[in-house]
């Protein structure tokens, strides 16, 4: 017969132990799990993004009911264990459910500490610990306006940020003088506070809560200094206490937590304890990384493999507030025996502090630039002697060169398995490495598909590629020597482009045949690319294949998450007239457009338009003189301008007219990716021309041209191309630049990565140094424009592609 294992606590540590155990000894135990919460096991860490509206509960479930069933685990949710009878070896839940055990695992986590002030039990005063708390907060945010968060630590700030994102006015009351004082030194804490204040949070530092006031429900918070803060919701995030009630009542030895040895056993060797409820070598932990290490050891011991010992963990923290990078680890306060290395660039929002003792790294605080957090952490844990690294330690691993083994490959190789690689999807290195090895993954796409790493914002793509390389060793380099366009072909983008022109391939089926495609009709990766390549190679000749276009380009509007569409008409150079605005207003009212938004691109966006209505709305816009803004396309988007010389006291040229002329020349062109332009009237650069694909900065002597910039996920400032004298020059260089990019970049490669790939020198040579070549490029652009400057909206209003907009049939 199987031995019986009972787990009390269906949380992160408990279930991680069970998962580890199932890997080691799937058949040894009959497992029963009790959880006080009414749900399956979920990722508690991600409650913050759930609160902030960035994730849903379903996204953070770790083990579904099916998982418990598949692994033969009896799960009792919503059943709090209230008694352990160690003599009879059984546990009893509140509702009387019993289970007997051979081994018992306590994983009861922590309970949030509630300040014992008057009013602390009023409705509307809650903690931030579980999904029920998040639901209460979300509920409150729908009805109420003012929230007070007591506690400016990690948890408090994540709660405050989430509530603010839900539209509440949030004040954080924090007793110490600086935020997150346990993780940050004063300088970093100040930067953090500034950033959060800029986002709209309010802070009361050195704020001591005296009383929570309210009749029936919380109405305010009274501070010791007499101030009163309005509050319809109070979240207490002032600390947690290991949850030892049950263990204590069973006579197990507890101090702050359940005291355990290096194999995670309590004083009763049949009873293991793990997670936030334990105290190991005098330490209690409140982060998952150490709990996961404990889980490994515990599972190991339960499986009777018996070789693992838990010897304590060093912890590091990150704040999960989107857009704020913050990392801290170890002892960062320093003392007489330590030295500090500090770098601060307030305007760039970067601060780094490293604490050294005996040539070893003891602590680190990073704000603004945290890429090297994992590396510092590793140096700390390994106790590496950093004497040789010291001169460049602050600049990070990338700046070490080979002497410091500083390339990204070695960096990821050095990362621990539980280092999070993909922040969006919470995927750790170990998971990725395992997937690569077990499932024989060869490409980035494979890894994305199997682990979801790098599939959301993509900022970790470099790390994932490096992991592929380091895990597969030689295999990876062969796998990537040549990157085929997609799995349907062996050929690269460049090979295909060359063949289309060289072999005069003029349709998608031509390409499939000519280049030996492996699939009959391609896929959703290659068809849009080929359609674009053919369109660029054979202007006026190639017939656009609608079915090879992504929906947005097929219906000339941007699909929204609820299946409705957005409509953004062109506003030339961002300049408009009262008459135009009046017609926009009338049309928006006529069609009851739910939301009208001024975009970041100086235009007006109608959001929430139903597909069937699109042609009619476009017809009206067209009558009022508007054309499509192509906000949905891999195409010319906006040309932003500032008011320039016409009004501005600093303006040096007529930037607005320059922008309008550029837009009139370039609109309608299909591109490898979206393309944005801007013209600023002087180097103050109010139109942000230096983060555009093609930016113009007016100067007294003429125009400076900049290329290859973008905002977005990875901001890249432009490279300076050259200076020119006249508006005609600007137009010609712009046309030539756009054409070079269209003819040579890979589909879905924006100008920034393209310029980086081919090198600025190459672009300069083609445009600035080869005048006849430039003129020829510009001519080819103008020629192609003859066929593309047809307003797609007007045509659809006249009935083109009608089938796209109406149902085939309505069944009553």
């Amino acid at each position: 017969m199987k031995e019986r294992l009972v787990v009390v606590g269906n949380g992160m540590a408990g279930m991680r132990t069970v998962e580890e155990l199932l890997k080691l000894a799937p058949d040894r135990y009959a497992i029963t799990v009790f959880g006080a919460e009414p749900r399956v096991n979920y990722n508690r860490i991600l409650l913050s993004p759930v609160l902030a509206g960035e994730k849903k509960f379903d996204d953070i479930v770790l083990n579904s009911e099916a998982w418990y069933a598949e692994n033969g685990i009896a799960l009792h949710t919503n059943k709090e264990v209230v008694r352990i009878d160690r003599a009879a070896r059984k546990v009893v839940a509140k509702d009387g459910t019993e289970a007997t055990y051979d081994r018992l695992l306590l994983a009861t986590g922590s309970t949030p500490f509630m300040l014992p002030v008057p009013g602390a039990t009023l409705p509307g005063v809650i903690a931030f610990r579980d999904m029920a708390d998040v639901e209460a907060m979300l509920e409150a945010s729908r009805t109420y306006q003012h929230a007070v968060v007591i506690g400016g630590g990690l948890l408090g700030l994540e709660a405050a940020n989430g509530l603010m994102k839900q539209g509440m006015k949030v004040t954080v009351v924090h007793l110490p003088e600086t935020l997150m004082e346990r993780q940050l030194d004063t300088a970093a804490a100040r930067m953090l506070r500034k950033e959060l204040e800029a986002r709209g949070l309010q802070f009361v530092l050195k704020g001591q809560t005296k009383e929570i006031i309210g009749k029936g429900r919380v109405q305010g918070v009274l501070l010791e200094d007499g101030r009163e803060l309005t509050a319809d919701l109070v979240v207490m995030a002032v600390g947690i206490r290991p949850n030892v009630t049950l263990a204590k009542s069973a006579g197990l030895y507890c101090e702050r937590g359940v005291v355990v040895n290096d194999t995670m056993q309590s004083y009763d060797p049949r009873v293991y304890a793990i997670g936030e409820c334990v105290q190991h070598r005098g330490q209690v932990y409140g982060l998952v990384a150490p709990l996961f290490e404990q889980a490994k050891v515990c599972a190991n011991h339960l499986a009777r493999i018996g070789i693992g010992r838990y010897e304590g963990s060093m912890t590091s923290t990150k704040l999960k507030v989107t857009g704020i990078d913050l990392f801290s680890a170890g002892d960062f306060t320093g003392n007489d025996t330590t030295e500090e290395l500090v770098m601060q660039d307030a305007s760039a929002g970067i601060y780094k502090k490293l604490v050294l003792a005996n040539n070893r790294l003891h602590g680190a605080v990073l704000y603004g630039d945290t890429v090297d957090g994992a590396w510092y952490f590793q140096l700390m844990r390994d106790g590496t002697d950093v004497t040789d690294l010291r001169p460049r330690l602050l600049y990070g691993q990338a700046h070490l060169g080979n002497a410091g083994h500083g390339d990204i490959k070695t960096r990821v190789a050095a990362m621990p398995d539980n280092a999070e690689i993909c922040g969006c999807n919470g995927v750790c290195k170990g998971t990725i490495v395992k997937a690569i090895a077990d499932k024989k993954l060869f490409t980035l796409e494979d890894v994305r598909a199997h682990t979801k790493a790098s599939s959301s914002c993509g900022s970790c793509t470099g790390l994932v590629e490096a992991l592929l390389a380091s895990t597969m060793g030689g295999d990876y380099s062969t796998a990537t020597k040549k990157k085929p366009l997609c799995p349907c072909t062996e050929h690269t983008h460049d090979e295909i482009r060359t063949a289309i022109v060289g072999q005069k391939l003029k349709t998608i089926p031509d390409v499939f045949r000519g280049l030996g495609w492996k699939t009959a009709d391609g896929c959703n990766k290659c068809r849009p690319a080929l359609n674009f390549y053919l369109l660029t190679a054979w202007p006026g000749e190639y017939v656009d294949d609608n079915q090879s276009r992504f929906i947005n380009e097929r219906v000339h509007a941007n699909i929204q998450k609820d299946g409705t569409y957005s409509v953004i008409p062109r506003i030339w150079g961002g300049e408009t007239t009262p008459a135009e605005l009046r017609s926009l207003a009338e049309i928006a009212e006529r069609y009851k457009v739910p939301t009208v938004h001024i975009t970041g691109g100086q235009r007006v966006d109608f959001l929430g338009v139903k597909k069937e209505v699109l042609p009619a709305i476009w017809g009206d816009l067209s009558k009022a003189g508007f054309v499509s803004g192509h906000a949905y396309g891999k195409a010319i988007r906006t040309v932003k301008t500032c008011v320039g010389q016409n009004w501005c006291r600093f303006g040096t040229q007529d930037s607005t007219t320059m922008g309008i002329e550029l837009e009139k020349m370039a609109w309608g062109a299909w591109m490898p990716h979206k393309v944005k332009l801007a013209v600023s009237g002087c180097p103050r650069n109010c139109a942000e021309a230096t983060i555009k694909d093609f930016g113009v900065v007016c100067v007294d002597s003429g125009y400076e041209l900049h290329v290859g910039g973008n905002g977005g996920v990875k901001v890249r400032a432009t490279d300076f191309l050259c200076a020119v004298k006249t508006p005609e020059d600007v137009l010609e260089y712009c046309a030539a630049f756009l054409q070079l990019y269209r003819e040579e970049a890979h589909y879905l490669e924006r100008t920034a990565p393209w310029v980086e790939r081919v090198g600025l020198a190459y672009v300069k040579q083609k445009l600035a140094e080869d005048a006849p070549g430039r003129k020829a490029l510009a001519e080819r652009f103008y020629y192609a424009q003859r066929f593309s400057q047809v307003d797609p909206w007007a045509r659809r209003a006249q009935g083109v592609d009608k089938h796209e907009f109406i149902p085939l049939k309505q069944i009553a």
């Binding site: 068809r527 609608n546 079915q547 090879s548 276009r549 699909i559 998450k561 089938h803 149902p807 309505q810």
Partner: protein, 114 residues
Amino acid sequence: MIDWIEIGRIEDIPRQGARVVRAPEGDIAVFRTQDDEVFALADRCPHKGGPLSQGIVHGKRVACPLHDWKIHLDTGLAVAPDEGCAASYPVKVLDGRVFLSLKVAARAPACATG
């Protein structure tokens, strides 16, 4: 007996494309492949409900326009490693006329809840 409803002619659906049929049980996407096979699936991606009818059709698959899951047109199952299923409906083509039945058919095991 299956109740067949005539929904239109095959030419009304673009090759490598789809059209929507509005039905009481929700929108149904009717797809036509490159070689004129016709399939019908609930117009809701098993991932987050994206409108499959708006995706790019290739082979016997459609790529959801929202987050790029691929769905098998014949079974409604998501292409591995993604997991999930869109309910599929019987369709047939007779003399270029397309007929649809609202009976949920051929439910794959993963598709137990339609």
